[in-house]
Point group: C2
């Protein structure tokens, strides 16, 4: 068994802490280690460091290696350019060069998990199902009708002794009404973007649903790490369209009955926004004020302070996010944290690249 | 005529911008000049620089002189220790050594005035009334039942052609019910802490209501600025209790019919808190977002950003104060800005003097 840690995120939604140079997975958002470091540490009960591969943008290979000194250097793979998760997983599979019989755990580097052991248990169960030839995804019980996630319609269980079940269908980011119906139904889970499969099962799916990507995998395997391999791989990847695992592979595979789902109940969050981080940490720590750095409060409720070097004092705030960095400060209503993307467009228009 | 600018404020209520080293009057809170500089500039139509005296704490004499290069050095007077406004005015009067017949304008250094010409007109009118032997105060029309101000009950007018009137009584910082009644009555004004009087009229009032302070004035006049005067003056001032102009002189003088009031309608604010600054600047600028420094907003209402070097981004906030300084950041609900004092106590208890 081995893991492919997907560390390609740009993480603009966590500006101003996340920047082009320091995307989300490299940040200490939840504790003293980065999300990437926590992700790798979480896999320790399952895998040796030599069995953990990380794929990240070429620009972040160095910082990634620095954060993960326990991994062999060659296990941190550089992606010449971003073509979404499907291409990244295929590229990593090809470059890792592992036995196609082995089970691969494909896990995002920038998610938060409150309970590591429960996460490991779910991966173990998923690996058992994957060994039987399924493409397996982990499914999170929705805590509300969020429209930012893909939903999994859970089909029949394989066996009464395991919660693993067939995936009947995927619904990508639904509208609010559809989301409410799905949550009410009780048989839908959020797609957490965590996949488990045998190498050859993945390869077969790629060949069937993304034949162009399969050819690219062939080419990358031939190129390997011979001198000049990076520019050759860039040429291969450049020619590809962006392909997502969810829509490009999992959806058609589910339609043909090849997808399975294992429930994940481990305090998971993809930290898709500052308010998602506030929610996740608040729940994990049992506190309504979540603060890092030097902080003093007087009567605030539901506040996140992502502090730096300075003393941050909050008085009487409710549902506010504060992110303090050396050159930029964000103070944002928690229910409007999704607007950071538009804010970044405005900043870019007003000041160029300086703050990106 | 001459002016005594009272610059003794500690200004803890505007932390973290105001600190021990840089009290409120020395800060650029409303525009490109400090409140002190704006106060002195406002007096230009009335007085030459040589006729403007400033009394400030010994520790701030140097910074005050640097901010006011147009004043003769000797016009910036150092107060050895703070004994409230009555003592400061007496000390400044004694040290200035002006003709007792002259009218003195006693004006706080740290207030905000939106309309300088209206302020000057009120002072001119007050000087005319002062020439007739009254202690004159300026009175501001209340815009609500604030409990943080002294109230002036306005008596009969001296003459139909002037708004100047006798002061019937003072009420120091009333409770909310009393404040509401007074505002409703229509014949109460806020005491703005701006006083105008002839030197000898002030001296007579001091002799009558604060005889100990009168003796101290005698001693200070004798000491003058002979070698070693500073430590001698310190000895004199140390022996005095704290005496406020409002309660120690104006109140008893009003009871005996010696006080007059001239209305001040010039967009005045004493900027007693960050929310008072937001209100004052918001009204003066006709904007609900008041920001200094580099600032970008998306859909906020009634926000003050007192910025520094960094980019400050606000999203979806309502009634929030943000004060950004190099070592400390305050984010505060506007209606709780009064609690800064308690916050400072907590900071002091937790971290000592570092942030004070």
């Amino acid at each position: 068994m081995y893991a492919i840690v997907m560390a390609g995120g740009a993480g603009t939604r966590l500006w101003p802490l996340s920047r082009r140079r320091t995307p989300k997975q490299l940040l200490n958002l939840a504790g003293d280690a980065s999300l990437l470091q926590q992700t790798v540490a979480r896999l320790a009960p399952l895998l040796d460091p030599a069995d953990i591969f990380v794929i990240t943008s070429q620009a972040h290979v160095r910082a990634t290696r620095e954060q993960l000194p326990q991994l062999p250097e060659g296990n941190v793979l550089g992606e010449p350019l971003a073509r979404n998760t499907g291409v990244a997983a295929a590229l990593a599979t090809a470059l890792a060069g592992r036995d196609p019989d082995e089970v691969a755990l494909v896990v995002p580097a920038d998610h938060f998990v409150a309970e590591g052991p429960a996460y490991v248990d779910a991966l173990r169960e998923a690996a058992r199902v994957a060994e039987r030839g399924y493409l397996v995804t982990l499914g999170v019980t929705p805590d509300g009708p969020a429209t930012g996630y893909g939903y999994i319609r859970v089909g029949e269980r394989f066996h009464p002794s395991s919660p693993a079940a067939r995936v009947d269908a995927f619904t990508e980011k639904p509208d609010a009404a559809t989301a409410r119906t799905m949550v009410k139904s009780g048989n839908h889970l959020w797609n957490a973007g965590i996949f488990v499969w045998r190498g050859y099962v993945f390869r077969q799916a790629v060949e069937r649903y993304q034949p162009e990507l399969a050819k690219a995998m062939d080419r990358v395997e031939r190129i390997g790490t011979l001198p000049g391999f990076q520019s050759e791989i860039r040429t291969v990847v450049e020619a590809l369209p962006a392909i997502q695992i969810d829509t490009g592979l999992a959806e058609p595979a589910a339609a043909e009955g090849h997808m399975a789902v294992v429930p994940l109940d481990a305090g998971w969050s993809d930290i898709g926004s500052w308010s998602a981080l506030l929610e996740a940490l608040s729940e994990a720590q049992g506190k309504e004020l979540v603060a890092s750095g030097r902080h003093l409060d007087r009567g605030s409720h539901r506040v996140l302070v992502q502090g730096g070097e300075r003393l941050v004092v909050t008085v009487g705030l409710e549902d506010v996010i504060i992110v303090d960095t050396p050159d930029a400060l964000l103070v944002c209503a928690a229910d409007r944290a999704e607007e950071i993307k538009q804010v970044l467009d405005e900043i870019s228009a007003a000041t160029g690249d300086q703050y990106l």
